[in-house]
């Protein structure tokens, strides 16, 4: 069982929904990003999504775009992101970390080398936005063979005909993108999301986690109540962008996780 599977099994036993938090690795710089990362589990985060900075994040809104630029300007590289995770693992061996980003930095490093380094560093899964099932041979299948979970996005445009193809090589959990749009865009209504989650759950035993557009504890609670959990990204990254100290960012994360865990 992967660290992600173990986490969901434990949550299920406790009757709790998952709270997933996204931060951009290296934003605003290596030290502060590492400090926030280290504090996430204590702030009630069940799974960490760690963004890989990329110059051309085509599925992201301005908040995450700028976070990536800040990280790159501060000298973040794929190697430094792996180093962050390695350091995190020295004190935490239970909270799963999923890398989320785009394919080119991984392709540039070489898939085989990357997978070896990522598993060594203690990464548990990958969400690569620009690798649909049609390109599974690139990274999805090699990643699963290397013992990493490959988490797929399902979207409102993923119709019933296509859904089995999306679910086929997915592991860990399914990330349901609640809107057609980019990160940080307008929120979806829980009343719309519920039936979509049910539609996906009818086809898979994997947990379904909902993301995009969730920015308050109330929204986290509502969305988590109709799914297996929720992801908050842009709202947390926006706090970091304001230059708040780690303690304040983590207090905000705590309010979000409390919201999700009330569901």
């Amino acid at each position: 069982m992967s660290r992600i599977d173990t986490t969901f099994a434990a949550l299920k036993q406790q009757g709790r929904k998952a709270f997933v938090a996204y931060i951009m690795a290296g934003d605003p710089d290596f030290e502060r990003s590492s400090e926030i990362l280290a504090g996430l589990p204590e702030a009630g985060v069940d799974i960490i999504e760690l963004g890989l900075p990329f110059t051309d994040p085509m599925a992201d809104g301005t908040v995450i775009q700028r976070a990536g630029q800040r990280a790159l300007e501060a000298g973040q590289t794929l190697q430094r992101t792996l180093d962050m995770v390695r350091t995190f693992r020295q004190t935490n061996t239970t909270t799963p970390i999923v890398l989320m980003g785009y394919y080119n930095p991984i392709y540039s490093r070489g898939v085989e080398t990357f997978l070896r380094d990522a598993t060594d560093a203690g990464i548990d899964g990958l969400i690569i936005v620009d690798l649909p099932p049609e390109e599974d041979e690139e990274l999805c299948i090699p990643a699963q063979n290397a013992g990493l979970n490959f988490i797929r996005l399902a979207t409102p445009t993923t119709d019933d005909k296509r859904l089995p193809k999306v679910l086929q090589n997915t592991s860990g959990f399914v990330y349901y993108v609640s809107i057609t749009g980019i990160t940080g865009a307008a929120a979806a209504e829980a009343t719309d999301v519920g039936p979509e989650v049910a539609r996906i759950k009818a086809k898979t035993d994997l947990p379904v986690i909902v993301g995009f557009g969730i920015r308050t504890p109330e929204a986290a609670e509502k969305i988590a109540s109709v799914s297996d959990g929720c992801v908050v990204g842009s709202a947390i990254v926006a706090e970091i962008a304001e230059g708040k100290p780690a303690s304040e960012v983590l207090a905000f994360v705590r309010s979000l996780s409390d919201g999700a865990h009330r569901a």
């Binding site: 900075p53 990329f54 110059t55 051309d56 994040p57 085509m58 599925a59 992201d60 809104g61 301005t62 775009q65 630029q69 790159l72 590289t77 794929l78 190697q79 785009y102 394919y103 080119n104 930095p105 991984i106 392709y107 540039s108 490093r109 936005v129 620009d130 690798l131 649909p132 099932p133 049609e134 390109e135 797929r152 996005l153 399902a154 979207t155 409102p156 445009t157 993923t158 119709d159 296509r162 999306v166 993108v177 057609t180 749009g181 980019i182 865009a185």
Partner: protein, 411 residues
């Protein structure tokens, strides 16, 4: 009949690949649309009524066929090979871009899409898209890097006159690649009613093949015209490359004519060296994945995309169409680069010898013609694609030639 097993014209495969290049590297939200587009395009391709509509508009709206013109004084000046220009700068809107836009807009109408989005660098693709949208009464939104909005002000005004909304893109560094990012962000948000009209032979499958097919009218005509003029095929084809759509359009019908040499000319900017002040993806980049396809890209050691630089906004893109990457790796085509300074010399050369004010993009092709023609025999036939006219570039050129245009602030 071509030998199918050794043909260069069979690509892409069912996965949208030209060898290892191309593919469909897009987010899940877009994937169903890409598949629908592929299906609709495959259907249209074999539908005579689709091509009847294209041919009618190519003739009566665009002004095709464009002439194949013997550049006599240029040939004399260079003193070697016989140089022909394929005159796509004479098209309506002043460049080859409209060949492709017509095809995509007719397809969008068939698919019931009411809103068209496009990215543009120099503004030629944006103008062509705004033009065809005006003609058909479709809503048009053009994404253009804020930096390009400044240096191509006349085209911005044209697009607005034609009823398009021009959105200056400030994300990233505000150039063509950022405009493409924002167009993709728009598409992912407005998937249901919006058609993304891509201006070059790049992007996810089926775009590279579809745009090539629409632009191939250039090469088809050129082939017939050179047979008529000379009774034989040319020895060398030369075209400028940013994304590479005018080049692919000229090259494609000749790919299996093994005796025809093919040369693509990339923008060398200030020189192709480790300072990376150029846009020569093939000569100065390596394979990577961006904007839906795998192709040669300008990137750093960590896979971060670098900004290209060129005097020509139309070539200012860090990637290149995947089919070019494949033609490069297989050796079927040769790729070279030309600097800003060489392109400017060619600009003057075309004005002086032929009375043609060329766009800065084909000036790169012409500069390479000027380099090789003198060493070639008089019976060596070169066809160069004069893919755009230079009206839009006169401010830039004036600045470089030290000519005071008066009130040109902001350009």
């Amino acid at each position: 009949m071509n030998d199918l097993f050794n043909s260069f014209m069979n690509g892409p495969d069912e996965k949208g690949r030209f060898g290892d290049f191309g593919g469909r590297f897009v987010s899940e939200t877009l994937m169903p649309l890409i598949l629908e587009l592929e299906e609709q395009y495959e259907h249209a391709k074999t539908d005579q009524s689709f091509w009847d509509e294209m041919n009618f508009l190519w003739k009566h709206y665009v002004g095709r066929p464009s002439p194949l013109y013997f550049a006599e004084r240029l040939t004399e000046r260079l003193g070697g090979a016989k140089v022909y220009f394929k005159r796509d700068e004479l098209n309506h809107t002043g460049a080859h871009k409209i060949n492709n836009v017509l095809g995509q807009i007719i397809l969008a109408r068939r698919m019931g899409k009411s809103r068209i989005i496009a990215e543009t660098g120099a503004g030629q693709h944006g103008v062509a898209t705004a033009t065809v949208c005006a003609k058909f009464g479709l809503k048009c939104v053009v994404y253009m890097g804020a930096h390009d909005v400044k240096r191509q002000a006349p085209n911005v005004f044209r697009m607005r006159l034609l009823g398009a909304e021009v959105i200056p893109v400030t994300s990233g560094r505000g150039t063509l690649k950022d405009a493409m990012n924002d167009a993709l962000r728009d598409w992912v948000t407005n998937v249901r009613d919006t058609f993304y009209c891509i201006g070059t032979v790049a992007g996810p499958h089926p775009y590279p093949a579809m745009v090539r097919d629409f632009q191939s009218i250039i090469g088809k005509e050129a082939k017939e015209q050179i047979m008529e003029a000379e009774g034989r095929l040319p020895d060398t084809l030369i075209a400028a490359i940013g994304g590479g759509s005018n080049a692919m359009g000229l090259f494609y019908p000749f790919l299996d004519d093994k005796d025809v040499g093919i040369i693509g000319v990339e923008a060398g900017g200030k020189g192709v060296d480790d300072k990376m002040e150029h846009c020569a993806s093939l000569t100065g980049g390596r394979p990577g994945v961006l904007h839906g396809n795998r192709t040669y890209l300008l990137q750093d050691d960590d896979g971060q995309i670098l900004e290209g630089y060129s005097i020509s906004a139309g070539l200012d893109y860090p990637g290149i169409g995947p089919e070019h990457s494949w033609l490069h790796d297989t050796g079927r085509a040769q790729y070279v680069s030309i600097t800003d300074a060489e392109a400017l010399q060619a600009f003057t050369l075309s004005c002086e010898t032929e009375g043609i004010i060329p766009a800065l993009e084909p000036c790169h092709a012409l500069a390479h013609v000027a380099k090789i023609a003198p060493e070639l025999p008089a019976d060596h036939l070169i066809i160069m694609n004069m893919c755009g006219r230079g009206d839009k570039d006169i401010y830039t050129v004036a600045k470089h030639l030290g000519f005071d245009m008066g009130d040109t602030e902001g350009r």
